[in-house]
């Protein structure tokens, strides 16, 4: 989950050359923005337009519609001014009219989603994403670009971003006060007539024993075993080998050289797909073993699963965007060398704005997801994430893909470190830093840098 935030931070760091201390607070803002949709009644000013915590009036809905539409247009505008609204950032050349209409439609859709979907968690996520995507570039435009034009040192930029973080954090506190807030999530959603309890936690137990690997999924609320599967070691090995083989084959004999799916990525995806398919087919149902070498239990609800999938999906989308769109290519060029990119005719300022849009979008969605995962929204939410995020980005050597790797290293080390040392959960954040410091001492340039 750190990854979503870390991507944005890494992009801003590497492309906009701002070590942004305000990024954590951007996430926090995202989390709070979602409140506008989720519980409009609990938001100051907006509460005048609502009858209850989750019952906005028509006027309130209208306000949300305007905000949603406006933010979407603002987001597109930030991608490159009026040109962008006419489709200059698209991967394909489209007539101006088409682009404008599509953008307007998109804005209207977001507006409708924000107003009609009010109080739903997903609508809140979308809304928060676009609002932040529209707000983040403003920081760039009015603060960071000014300082960049002055050619200030990196240290100065740090101080500046710290000041911005201050403004954001206490700005939110000015509006929302200091009390802790949380989202209201409906526990059931109807999909095609079937009722799914999205917020109910399921247990996923994994046992590793002498007879093989056993996975059980239970619903503790109704005490029902939903899934029960054992893979004996031979089967497990066969599946593993098969997936590796398929993965390698995918890498070796890829069909043409597609730009979006690099060979490594293709191989990995194929391998994983084979692994899961094979695992499902070849499993056998048994009861839980008496003695297991490792047994671990993961608590997962449909909503959590959704968020994890969403995060993976967003990373994929970003990957595609960076590979396929003009803007993405320009971003990669700018990241490599800002001055060179400028010489080669790339509008660096515009690219930078685009980076902030993406960073804002991801911060909004990521922040909302975090707000849900944490269960409570506080002003310092962002700050506590900032440190692991920075750790992840630095570990990754300030590159976008490096940040992904770094996020997993940091996330894992936080959990493993806590588990191994048996320390308090208070030490979660410090653990990330111990890893960072150790890595930096050994290799002052970061892992991939």
């Amino acid at each position: 989950m750190i990854a979503l935030g870390a991507i944005g931070l890494a992009m801003v760091y590497s492309i906009a050359e701002v070590p942004n201390f305000a990024h954590g607070d951007l996430l926090m803002m995202g989390a709070y923005t979602a409140l506008l949709i989720n519980t409009p009644g609990a938001v100051p000013l907006l509460d005048n337009l609502a009858e209850g915590a989750q019952e906005p009036t028509t006027a309130g809905l209208a306000v949300l519609f305007v905000l949603g539409t406006g933010a979407t247009l603002g987001m597109f505008y930030a991608l490159g001014g009026g040109e962008a609204l006419r489709g200059s950032w698209w991967p394909v050349d489209a007539p101006d009219a088409v682009a404008v209409v599509v953008h307007l439609l998109a804005a209207a859709v977001v507006g409708v989603v924000s107003s009609l979907g009010a109080t739903s968690f997903l609508a809140a996520m979308v809304f928060s994403g676009v609002v932040l995507a529209a707000l983040a570039p403003i920081q760039e435009r009015y603060v960071f670009r000014k300082f960049r034009q002055r050619d200030v040192s990196l240290a100065m930029m740090l101080v500046v971003s710290l000041a911005v973080a201050f403004v954001l954090r206490f700005g939110v506190q000015t509006i929302f006060g200091g009390t802790t807030r949380s989202y209201e999530i409906q526990s059931t959603v109807e999909v095609f007539g079937a009722e799914i309890k999205v917020a109910i936690v399921k247990f996923i137990d994994v046992y590793v024993s002498s007879s093989g690997v056993l996975v059980q999924i239970t619903d503790p609320a109704e005490d029902v075993m939903l899934f029960n599967n054992l893979w004996s070691w031979p089967v497990f090995a066969v599946v593993l080998l098969a997936s590796l083989a398929v993965g390698y084959a995918g890498y070796r004999y890829r069909l043409g050289t597609r730009a979006i799916l690099g060979p490594y990525l293709l191989g990995t995806i194929l391998a994983l797909a084979t692994f899961f398919a094979g695992a499902l087919v070849l499993g056998a149902s048994v009861s839980a073993p008496e003695s297991a070498l490792v047994d671990s239990r993961v608590r997962l609800s449909v909503l959590r699963l959704f968020i994890i999938l969403l995060a993976i999906g967003m990373m994929g989308a970003l990957h595609a965007a960076l590979r396929a769109t003009k803007l993405g290519k320009a971003m990669r060029a700018t990241s490599d060398n800002r001055d060179l990119a400028q010489v080669r005719g790339i509008n660096v300022d515009q690219v930078t704005m685009g980076v902030w849009v993406i960073a804002g979008l991801y911060a909004g969605i990521g922040g909302t997801a975090l707000g849900f995962l944490f269960g409570a929204l506080t002003i310092t939410l962002g700050f506590f994430l900032l440190l692991p995020m920075f750790a992840a980005v630095i570990l990754g050597g300030i590159t976008i893909y490096g940040a992904l790797l770094g996020s997993y290293v940091v996330g894992l080390s936080m959990e493993v470190g806590l588990f191994a040392t048996g320390l308090d959960a208070t030490y979660r954040v410090p653990m990330a830093f111990v890893v960072l410091i150790l890595v930096l001492i050994a290799k002052p340039e970061g892992l991939t840098g």
């Binding site: 240290a155 206490f170 700005g171 000015t174 954040v429 410091i437």
Partner: protein, 547 residues
């Protein structure tokens, strides 16, 4: 009756130890260029070390648990805390100083966060997430003191004598500067005043030895003050009045130096501006409804700020001396708050005795007149104590920075590789710089422990580093003396807004307190953009401006 000198005193106390904190930051960032976002960590180390050294051993009660209580005298605690923070600074510096400046900043921020978490999580160490209590500040049992007692006489002798000596020195300095200008001693206001306050000894000692003369005058003043105070409460009061008035006079002498070249128009303009800023707050006092005064006050402020900016950019007088104009506008603003505003309601009610006592109480700042009897309360003593420590630290820092050592530090800030090519190890110097800066932060922490008496981990949030940085940039990067100014300005702003938030409904107070941080952040951004070297700039520039 409203005596607000107490407010100024408590502001001063905060400004002293935050000034020390900013001073430490200045050594690190201002002179050496090390951006230490973990500065608060050393503040924390200093505070908790000092507290653990001073409090009594853990009695084993269920509410408070801490690892050790040594029951040592405060001065030992302060020294140990300072040294320990410096040592911790070295240990933090060893692995981190090799990193790039942005990595360095983030890593030390992380280390400070770890310190904070340790304090929070380790309940056996310093009472975990709960507050660590039990710090008894030194000599607190003696206070408040009044005249007619040996203690009162002693306090008045020491404090009065020291203030006297300091003020006389300041006066002598002003006199020397005027003498340089060719007026000759004795004929200026400063010179005449100097003759009086040194009890005529300056003729014997010689004007050029005004430093020694200040000591002599201070000693005489100590004796006089001690005897008067011991004799009677009235003597105590009278001497306090004399000392207070003397300090005001010295302040005026120095102010006239800063305003040299000011004519009536300048004074009037700055007064008008100061009054306008105060006036912009007026809607707050008179309007009850929140929805009404917020926009009105905002509007009024926008107008006044607009006028100031307009004058600055279009009016020759202002543009030529922005420093003097800014200073005097601020002073007038403070003055209006300090005297006229406090007597406003009494004057309206024609309650003249109350008016008089208000003015008297605010002028005679040496004594607290809020109680029944004029006395020297503990806050004043604390200010005196902290102020002395601050001055000592400032003096030593100035010596260090003026030496070849300081020259190497500034060279490192400029370009490390040159220092390396000249046969000096930049790493060692950076370590030393970190040690000194951290030790100063530790000293600030030790004083903070004494001031707050209660320590909670939330007091050591990264925000404190930000505040220290703000003070640094407010005062002037690479200017030790400006740190005190920066700290004072910051706390003046804090105090002013705290006073103002008294006008807001309690439910909204939290929002307002958050809002002032927003204002501060925006001001900080503007400051960084328009005046990145700080208000006073580096020392050399500041001296050129004032002398």
């Amino acid at each position: 009756m409203a005596v607000v000198s107490d407010v100024i005193i408590s502001l001063g106390v905060l400004a002293t130890f935050y000034g020390l904190l900013a001073l430490g930051m200045n050594i690190k960032y201002g002179f050496t260029g090390l951006l230490d976002f973990g500065h608060v960590g050393f503040y924390l180390v200093g505070a908790y070390t000092a507290a653990l050294l001073v409090i009594e051993p853990d009695a084993g009660g269920p509410d408070t648990v801490y690892v050790v209580g040594l029951d040592l005298p405060w001065i030992v605690a302060v020294l140990v805390a300072t040294v320990l923070a410096g040592v911790v600074g070295v240990f933090v510096a060893l692995p981190t100083l090799r990193l790039r400046e942005d990595y360095l900043a983030i890593t030390v921020l992380g280390i400070a966060a770890i310190f904070q978490r340790i304090v929070q999580a380790e309940s056996w160490l310093v009472n975990g997430p709960d507050a660590l209590r039990g710090y008894t500040p030194p000599l607190i049992d003696l206070f408040p003191v009044t005249g007619g007692s040996p203690v009162g006489a002693a306090v008045m002798a020491v404090a009065g004598g020291a203030i006297w000596a300091g003020s006389t020195w300041a006066l002598g300095r002003a006199m020397e500067l005027e003498f340089d200008a060719g007026t000759g001693p004795g004929v200026t206001v400063a010179g005449r005043l100097h003759a009086v306050v040194t009890f005529g000894t300056d003729r014997l000692i010689g004007f050029e030895n005004y430093r020694g003369g200040a000591l002599v005058a201070g000693a005489i003043a100590a004796v006089v003050g001690g005897v008067l105070s011991f004799a009677a409460q009235d003597g105590f009061l009278a001497w306090a009045v004399v000392v207070s008035v003397f300090t005001w006079l010295v302040a005026f002498v120095w102010l006239t130096r800063y305003s040299s070249g000011f004519d009536a128009v300048d004074y009037l303009t700055t007064f008008a501006l100061g009054a306008a800023y105060m006036g912009a707050l007026a809607p707050m006092f008179f309007l009850e409804t929140f929805q009404l005064w917020v926009p009105l006050t905002g509007l009024a402020f926008a107008v006044v700020i607009g006028v100031t900016v307009y004058l600055y950019s279009n009016w020759q007088r202002f543009a030529a001396r922005p420093f003097g104009y800014g200073l005097f506008t601020g002073l007038w603003f403070g003055f209006i708050w300090y005297i006229p505003l406090q007597i406003l309601s009494d004057v309206a009610a024609a309650n003249w005795p109350s008016v008089a006592s208000s003015i008297f109480g605010n002028v005679v700042w040496v004594l607290s007149l809020s109680g029944d009897v004029p006395e020297i309360g503990y806050p004043r003593f604390k200010l005196f104590l902290f102020g002395t420590l601050l001055l000592v630290a400032l003096y030593l820092s100035e010596l260090t920075i003026d030496s070849p050592f300081g020259r190497v530090l500034r060279a490192i800030r400029n370009d490390e590789r040159v220092v390396n090519s000249l046969g000096k190890d930049p790493f060692m110097y950076k370590i030393m710089s970190m040690a000194i800066g951290s030790a100063l932060a530790g000293l600030a922490g030790a004083l903070a422990a004494m001031h707050f008496q209660v320590l909670v981990f939330t007091m050591f949030a990264p925000r404190v580093t930000f505040i220290a940085l703000l003070m640094l940039f407010l005062g002037g990067v690479g200017n030790n003396r400006a740190m005190v100014v920066g700290a004072f300005l910051f706390w003046a702003f804090q105090t002013a807004t705290t006073q103002l938030s008294g006008f807001v409904a309690p439910g909204l107070r939290e929002n307002i307190q958050a809002f002032r941080f927003v204002v501060m952040g925006v001001l900080f951004l503007l400051l960084l953009y328009y005046r990145p070297q700080g208000l006073m700039g580096e020392r050399a520039a500041a001296e050129a401006g004032s002398e």
